[in-house]
Point group: C2
DNA sequence: TTAAAATTACTACTAAAGTGGTATTGTGCT
DNA sequence: AGCACAATACCACTTTAGTAGTAATTTTAA
């Protein structure tokens, strides 16, 4: 296979299981577009060494025993924002996925995915893509939907919607009243009705329920 | 190619450009796992007919002139939640992508993607995946990051993070104090410090800034 | 080993927010 | 015509939230 790029994509791998590590390294070595610069078996060394290397992509196993790959990404990403991190792991509960993305990971590939897809993922991340297993993408979309539908089925009136939107901006009753040309007391009444409908009794609760 | 499934995946396509429609239909007909049950050139007919068909996946072009594919999905998805919708389009600004996902679309494929990937996407959606072009996935991840980093760069201490999380649940000072075995006055002090750091002066503003 | 944060806590006060009751007017639906 | 509901508004009252100043103790980082 001829290289498609002038220079190879420089990557590092953080993986404690030597068997898996050897396996993926051998897979990636077969790809002439990728150069495995260095591998790490634990986070501390990775954390101390990676900033001194020139790298495009780092593949990180999340669940090294007793350590946390997400913390590694969180610590490294702000230091070297140009590096793309791909989480490569068997853990894929929603919490973990989001923590990883939050920490700054670009891609998230489960080990269940055919391992040879990893090199595609690396190229994808390098080109600015966000490689993700389809099950991961699913989770994100699902949580997106949940996020959008967490709202209640309660119907607020037009005025009430206006007001709850203003509440969400942290405006005071007085400020809302001024913007809508209402008396503070009217705003108060609307808010009371909103709370009644949503079955809550504070602004924050209302916002949590409604949005 | 032998069918991989006992029965074919039944799909419909909504696409006004007959050239593109013919093209993708011919592509999909070559796939023995997929059966194109019906095609539509405009939304109204699609809206009225689709509920009467037995379908697994519907491929929708978002930008039919003067109409809105997202509205179609929004209207149909609640009626027939078992159908998976794949948006197939050249529009892919962040707004549109999110609106589509919000409306209930499962996948989002740009026309820039190799057209033959469409059949993969259909199978993926059918199996419960969330097919997405890598550029779309990118957008989602990016907006996720933006969402997470809309937060200030301000560093809250461990205690302060605990407390702001509780604030976000709508707990009162007294309730927070009890949960953390602190005096209400201490909670009050922490919150004052949080507000100082975030440069705000109410709970809602703090939450908006931080989350 | 210092200086800087973080964590704890109190007093005293003001400003908002939330609760409860009540009432008028308008609009849409039956 | 009558009912339900939305929108407006006021009074009176209690509870929380937010502001300000101060300070002791502990942790953490330079």
């Amino acid at each position: 296979m001829k290289p498609l790029l002038e220079s190879k994509i420089k990557i590092a791998i953080v993986e404690d299981d030597l068997e898996i590590l050897d396996y993926i390294v051998s897979l990636l070595k077969a790809d002439s577009n990728i150069e495995v610069v260095k591998t790490f078996e634990e986070y501390n060394t990775a954390f101390n060494t990676i900033p001194n290397l020139i790298l495009d992509v780092v593949v990180v196993d999340i669940n090294l025993p007793g350590q946390n790959g997400i913390e590694l990404v969180k610590a490294l990403k702000p230091k070297i924002p140009t590096i793309q991190f791909i989480m490569y792991t068997s853990l894929f509960d929603a919490e973990t996925v989001f923590s990883a993305l939050k920490a700054g990971a670009t891609g998230y590939i489960t080990k269940e995915t055919q391992p040879d897809k990893l090199s595609d993922a690396i190229k994808d991340a390098f080109k600015g893509g966000a490689p993700m297993s389809s099950d991961i993408a699913r989770k994100i979309v699902k949580s997106f939907h949940e996020f959008e539908n967490k709202s209640t089925n309660v119907q607020l009136s037009k005025r009430e919607k206006e007001i709850i939107n203003m509440l969400s901006q942290g405006l005071r009753y007085k400020e809302i009243a001024d913007k809508l040309f209402l008396s503070t007391e009217t705003v108060r009444t609307h808010i009371r009705n909103i709370y009644d409908k949503l079955q809550v009794n504070s602004r924050t609760e209302a916002l949590n329920k409604y949005f």
